[in-house]
């Protein structure tokens, strides 16, 4: 009995260890920023909450209005959803007197897909319905392949992809950086509509530079803020606010192509502090350590076939 038990344990433990151990193999590093990565910089301190970007987004993407009001007068979604790809939300505290202040203040925040450098949604999708443009880095959704498992909804660290639960034959909805407009050489609709330059479009590198330039400014000084893009002549002068000294999206989860500046801590704006190593790389490291070239499963299969064949010949089938 004891020998048999040992055999069983050996088989059970080594078998499961082969297939399930997060082994010490070389880790899959974060993905690199694509060569011509587009970028967006959202400066919450410039945002006046006019929601022109939301209107622009709905028009450009042919999305219907959505009302959370009793009397539907405006487009008032509560969150990004099956019918809303972009939303302005507001953080308030106490008396909410001063803009971009954490206590007794408020801040707007624009939420949509961050276009991660190393996106979780792409890593998890069993049918490759989420794809990242190898050149621009835009993350797009392809409904023709999607089976609706909602793993992307579940796994996204920013809670961005949304399933349309109102549609019996629904699909995933998320911001695709107005990829169709980019193809025509146009700006993403939200950037195009933004009157204050809170949403800015360029390469990721340019946006990162501009963000650091702003962080280096002295609060109280004035700065000539660009609108739409860095080289657009239509600029405006404004007083430099107290920025939180961090570019959100520079490193979070391996970096994002949409980056955010704000006057209140990012955690208050639903932008969680995320480690630099992407969750996709952690998950894929485990997956590929276990399944590398299918060697371990095939070896296990071969071993089991050998043993079971011998045992069946020796001892009968049941």
């Amino acid at each position: 009995m004891s020998i048999k038990r040992r055999d069983f344990l050996k088989a059970a433990v080594t078998g499961s260890a082969v297939a399930a151990l997060p082994g010490p193999a070389e880790a899959r590093p974060n993905l690199e920023v694509p060569p011509n990565a587009v970028g967006m910089l959202y400066d919450a301190t410039l945002c006046i909450g006019c929601k022109a970007c939301m209107v622009g987004c709905k028009e450009a993407n042919e999305m219907p209005v959505e009302s959370s009001d009793v009397s539907p007068i405006w487009d008032t979604p509560m969150d990004t959803s099956g019918k809303t790809k972009n939303i302005i939300k507001v953080y308030t505290d106490g008396t909410a007197e001063v803009k971009d202040r954490e206590t007794d203040g408020f801040s707007f925040v624009k939420r949509h897909c961050m276009h991660c450098v190393d996106p979780g949604c792409i890593s998890v999708c069993p049918v490759t319905a989420m794809r990242k443009d190898p050149d621009t880095g835009v993350v797009t959704y392809h409904e023709e392949a999607c089976i609706g498992c909602r793993y992307c909804v579940w796994a996204c660290p920013y809670n961005i992809p949304k399933w349309d639960f109102e549609d019996a034959f629904g699909k995933i909805n998320k911001c695709e950086f107005c990829n169709h407009l980019l193809a025509e050489g146009k700006l993403p609709a939200c950037v195009d509509r933004c009157p204050t330059g809170a949403s800015l479009f360029g390469t990721r590198e340019e946006m990162l530079e501009e963000a650091h330039r702003r962080l280096a400014l002295e609060p109280g000084d004035t700065y000539d803020y660009p609108r739409n893009t860095l080289d657009d002549p239509n600029r405006h002068e404004a007083v430099v606010p107290h920025y939180v000294n961090k570019v959100y999206g520079e490193t979070q989860g391996g970096g994002t192509q949409v980056m955010v500046l704000a006057g209140v801590p990012f955690g208050k704006l639903d932008l969680p502090e995320i480690a630099e190593r992407s969750f996709a790389s952690v998950s894929e490291t485990i997956q590929h350590t276990v399944y590398k070239g299918l060697i371990a499963p095939l070896a296990l299969l071969g071993g089991l076939m050998f043993i079971s064949r011998r045992n069946i010949e020796k001892g009968g089938t049941e």
Binding site: K4, R5, D7, F8, L9, A11, A12, V13, G15, S16, A20, P22, M78, D79, G120, I122, S123, V124, C125, P126, V127, T128, A129, E144, A145, I147, G148, R150, V153, A155, P157, N159, W163, D164, F165, E166, A168, F169, G170, K171, P272, I274, A275, F279, A280, S283, I286, Q287, Y291, L300, L301, I307, S308, R309, N311, I312, K314, G315, G316, E318
Partner: protein, 398 residues
């Protein structure tokens, strides 16, 4: 070579007993509600939302049901790999249970995906994403379901008297057996590894690189437990004789897997210094404690020779362990999950009734098959078919 097949025979007896009719009714209700789900969609049928895109169906009907289906997996390892044949009489009933469980889990996956008409996309080579844990799970679970069906060929051959096919079948049996061990090993760990990519959205009480290993080990534990559980149910519900000596030895084997599970579980928590998570969120803390008490208590029972010998305590342990694995899965996927602010989830009546209906399919199907197909060994004590077992239940059969 001398055939060592133990004689099994259909139990016979009346199919349409009162519990059978009642459970069939539950199945019918579920079928009706599923029609509703397919016509009106997930949003209408469930309380799922974009904060909790996965709910009862994913956790109970896919994750837990598949883990409950590990009885055949565990017995295959014991019998064909460790070459320990003493449990042979348990194999066929376990196979029936596992086949139902996996068939239902695959069905539940189809019910739960929002674009079910598109399900074949997962089989198209140009869509394959080898990085996706979900891909691995979907393929392995589907293939394993087919393997289980193939493992059920012998009773069908016997039932219809096609004995001449036994020989060729036994020639390839070793392939079926090996696949039937590799596939669950892969996807049961995958079902846990699924949560790794959600990163900090899952409480550190469950978010660990070892979660795949833990899910696999706990699925093996549940496999042991479900064999005990099913055994006890056939004693209670079908008036079968209790083979306590077998279950006792099964418990003796299973406790080592259970003990290793708990060692890895707590070593990992200690290493990551994650136990503080119990204090941070009261609901998660309480659920964590319930989960681990349900694992620990049976271990204590199984370690004690006298307690292990008690049929009632053994049955109680089995129930605890099935629940423990279930709670672990609920915790890792729902309780430990932090959605974006403002979302709450509790399953809808439809979700619950569909889940109940799917479980009822298993009981109804099991009962029907053991009465009509040669699954169980011939009974040694005659008890009138369909008659109620003695009130004292388990112990009186010992």
């Amino acid at each position: 070579m001398k055939r060592q097949r133990p004689a099994t025979e259909p139990m016979g007896g009346n199919i349409l007993t009162r519990p059978f009719v009642f459970l069939s009714l539950l199945v019918l209700i579920a079928v009706g509600l599923l029609l509703f789900r397919f016509v009106y969609g997930l949003g209408a049928a469930t309380n799922l939302n974009n904060g909790y895109p996965w709910g009862l169906w994913v956790v109970l009907d896919i994750h837990i049901t598949a883990a409950i289906g590990c009885g055949a997996y565990v017995l295959a390892v014991i019998m064909y790999i460790a070459n320990n044949r003493e449990f042979h009489t348990l194999l066929r009933p376990a196979l029936i249970g596992s086949t139902f469980a996996y068939t239902l889990a695959n069905l539940a996956a189809f019910v739960d995906i929002g674009r079910w008409w598109n399900f074949y996309q997962i089989m198209l080579p140009w869509n394959i994403n080898l990085n996706s844990v979900m891909f691995e799970i979907a393929i392995c679970m589907f293939l394993y379901m087919i393997v289980l069906w193939m493992e059920l060929v012998p009773p069908v051959l016997e039932k219809f008297g096609w004995e001449r096919f036994h020989k060729p079948y036994n020639k390839v049996l070793f392939i079926i057996v090996a696949l039937g061990i590799v596939l669950p090993t892969m996807h049961q760990s995958g079902l846990g590894a699924l949560i790794v990519v959600a990163g900090e959205k899952i409480s550190p009480l469950w978010q660990t690189p070892w979660i795949g290993f833990l899910f696999l080990m706990s699925a093996i534990v549940m496999g042991f437990a479900i064999v005990l559980f099913e055994g006890a149910l056939t004693v209670l519900g079908l008036g079968r004789r209790l083979e306590l000596h077998l279950y006792r030895r099964l418990a003796k084997l299973g406790r080592w897997v259970l003990a290793s599970y708990l060692v890895v579980r707590f070593a990992d928590l200690a290493y990551r210094d994650a136990l503080g998570g119990i204090m941070q969120n009261p609901v998660q803390g309480v659920m964590f404690c319930i989960e681990n008490m349900l694992f620990l208590l049976p271990l204590l029972i199984m370690l004690h020779p006298r307690w292990r010998g008690n049929a009632r305590l053994l049955f109680f342990s089995a129930i605890c362990l099935v629940l423990a694995g279930a709670v672990l899965r609920f915790n890792a996927l729902i309780i430990g999950y932090t959605p974006s602010a403002g979302y709450v989830y509790f399953p809808s009546v439809i979700e619950i009734l569909v889940s109940v209906g799917l479980l009822a399919v298993e009981v109804v199907g099991f009962t029907y098959i053991v009465k009509r197909f040669p699954i169980l060994p011939p009974r040694k004590k005659t008890i009138a078919p369909g008659s109620a077992p003695p009130a004292s239940g388990l112990a009186s059969h010992v």
